[in-house]
Amino acid sequence: MTRVSRWLLERLCRLLPPAIAAAAAGDLEEEWRRHAGEPRIRASLRFVREAAGILCCALRSPRAAGDANRRHDESRSLGMSGWPVDVRHALARSLREPTGTVLSLLTLAIGLGAATSLFALTNAWLLRPLPFSDAGELVSVWETIPSEDIFENTPAPAVLFDWRARSHAFSGLGALTTGTVNLTGTGEPERLNAIRADAELVRVLRLQPAIGRVFGDGDDAISEVVLTHGFWRRRFGGSREIVGSALSLDGVPATVVGVLPPGITLLGIEADVWRPLRFTAAERASLNRYLWVVGRLRPAASVAQASAEVDVIARSREPALGARAVSLQEQTVGSLGHDLPILLAATGVLLLIACANVASLTLARTAARRREFAVRAALGAGGARIAAQVVIEALPAAFLGGAAGLLLSAWLVRAFTAWLPQRDTLPPVELTDPRVFAFGFAASLASAILFALAPALQSASRRTLAGLREGGRGVAAPNAALRLLASIEVALAIALLIAASVVGRSFLRLTRIELGFEPGGVVTFELPRSSHSARDRAFFDELLRRLQQSSAVQTAGVSQALPLKSFGFGSSFPVDGAPASATHLAYWRIVSPDYFAALGIPLKTGRAFDARDRMGSSLVAIVSESYVRAAWPDGASPIGRRIGWGTLERPLTVVGVAADVRLSAATGPAPHVYMPYAQVEEFLPSQLAVRTRGSDVQAIDAVRGAARALDPLQPVANIQTMNELAWRMLARRRFQLALWAAFAVAAAILALLGVYGVVSYAVRQSSKELGIRLALGARRSAVIAHVLRQGLTLSCAGAAAGVLLAYWTAGAMRGFVVGVEPRQPLLYAAVVAVVIAASTMAAVIPARRAASVDPLDAIRGD
């Protein structure tokens, strides 16, 4: 006997009435031995079947042996009272009908799993407070420029101090700004993202460190630094010894005084270290707008009050400006705050579909039990009592489904967050949160009531005598509501599938988008220099020269802004000889001569930059095709023409025309003006693109080696391949696609289950009719065709409605997709064909069952 079956046997013994427990267990074991020669699997199956059979009977039978007890129990189970009996009945019944049970559980698990995981996300991001104490009081405060539709401008220190002095709604207004520092001295030099926070901010956030302390107000605090948890783990392996030691930041020693707890992020700013921010008297009056402001409301104040107050103060300073306060929670969640409710609604629909499905399965079962209900009603059970029984019987399935859904949601949440573009700045999702459990429980309960409602009402309202007399003779087709439900499901599934395929096609198109350059085999780096001196310029000259000689590098180029990595800046470039009003906007790039070769940007005409273009020689530029089209619409050659950077005071001579480059997937090809960095004094490139000779790793080593040989303190940061950047650029689209696909597939599965449920209900209902047909000589193939036709009617009606729905919503789809026409007859046809084929397959199982009906059995009935 296997260990599992022995374990089962012992469990079983405990559940059985004591009178038969030992004997039954003995019999089972004897049976096992008798079939010892059989394959293990078959023997196990037999064992499980027998054990389940015994358990069912035991559950149905009264535990006590006495006659009086039995009578009592039976009267209860006949329908007067006693929900434990109902639950026992339900369990026993579901064990007897494994297919239906598995189907219901699967359906509920999908619906409840989706709902629970979406709730877990909503809970983590919208409902759960931020990782600060009394985070509900925290607001972020922005300056606004209403005339330019700018509502999130960072205010200047002068404005901040004005707010601090004159507002009453806040118990404190803290300020921070961002920056980068170069960490040198210990190990690999690194460029760190820093938050610089003033002492007031620490108070406002009530920031508690995980280790050590947070920097104080004193003047000596300026040389203190606090590490974020992630950086501490990454760089120092979580060593506690680091507190108290000194780091060299931008060449200046700073003492590590503490480490922040995990998950502390503010306004989505990624930071490695927090440093103190101090204002000198001059800085306090500064109008440089570079501060993020976070305030804590006084207990009595509301966000609206605070908003109105800062607005008035800002207007009194400068009438064109305003200000507003936003709850920090809302601010942090951002666009997700709009997306999540829509998603929640979508999962609600999914859950409803799931409930409709289980309702149809339950209806099919209760229909088979009409006589039972009729007898109960005849014996005096009221409609409410019978309805309650049906609902109570639904509970075990609902809770098992809910439990399965919870397991499923653990996986769903992980998958969902992995796809989310802004996953790194959001708080982690906790599935073990009691609120998630409570939601799962409530959703299961609600769905039990929902899916049992229709069967309950139907059972309760069944006319007693009709049920008894008829004896289930009816040739009832599935009722209209059920068929409607199934058709609606098919329609929704088709509409969703069409939408998902349109999104998928558009995504495919995006992955094949012409970027205007060759991203394959290019690795990008950031090499920030602290100044623009001649020494820094020489650093890049020498770096590029050394990389050109490296065996791992084909070509290397620098720019102040690489495509896909940063947008850089735009400016107007007026054309010499054109009217002054015609200013042509273009992005400008300060590049090295080999930049075009390194990125693979084709030069259409003219030449690339070379050694001739140096400081002091005549200023030159390379323009992109769309700039040429805009600036010289007559089609004349632009070579030798002159344009100006902002003004025509220092004109640039066009020496070449390059292809247009896209800055991101969302934008079209943009006009560009390139200038050699040797001729531009005020800007220095910091981003390096290297076209590798095969291995990325060797190229990265080559760049690191060359940079360190030239300047041991030079950090080499943000190493990414162009392909990686291109992929990341599509993250949001990918996320959308994944969501659509997930919803569509889930809806399709549920719709197929729905068709299956309704058709098998119909078969069960009309088994007598089918039996008569068979007895009268109908061929089995004809019976199968008859049943399949029922399924086909459902799916065709659903398909027609679904296509209409898809066509109708195609207009809204245009907002989601790029470069794809949402109304594609071929796509519609393909989706419809697949769904109809699949739903016909779903009807095959009940059809075969119908054809295998024994005519005699069917006609004789009960």
């Binding site: 038969i20 004997a23 019999d27 074991e29 079947r49 059979g53 009977c57 035991a58 042996a65």
Partner: protein, 119 residues
């Protein structure tokens, strides 16, 4: 009065369902060694119908409560994992009922010539 009424109901000769009849006959045929597995084998070999142990237990218990069967525990044996068999046998009441049933049925079948005697 109520108690009397109930006792009357309990003691009244009950109608036997088809399966109950088969189980009673199975017990009778295996007289002396009629425990669940043996009764099941008997029914299976004679009717070709496989009966689940679960429904057999239910019926055996019910028949016992109706006073048609009585049971005793046998010796524990190793092949049953040291568990005893529960042997069933017909009570006098049960035997009487079977006889009555048989006589009634035979009377109903008599002279129809549908089924040849199986002796």
């Amino acid at each position: 009065l109520l108690q009397f009424h109930q006792r009357c109901k309990v003691n009244a000769v009950p109608d036997l369902a088809e399966f109950e009849l088969r189980v009673l006959l199975g017990v009778l045929r295996r007289r002396g060694e009629a425990y669940a597995v043996a009764v099941r084998d008997e029914i299976a070999s004679r009717t070709g119908r496989q009966v689940s142990l679960g429904s057999l237990y239910i019926t055996l218990q019910r028949l016992e409560r109706k006073g048609l069967l009585q049971s005793r525990l046998g010796e524990p044996t190793a092949e049953r994992g040291g568990r005893a068999k529960r042997y069933y046998e017909l009570t006098r009441h049960g035997l009487t009922l079977l006889r009555t049933e048989c006589r009634l049925t035979q009377r109903m079948w008599a002279g129809l010539g549908l089924v040849p005697d199986e002796r």
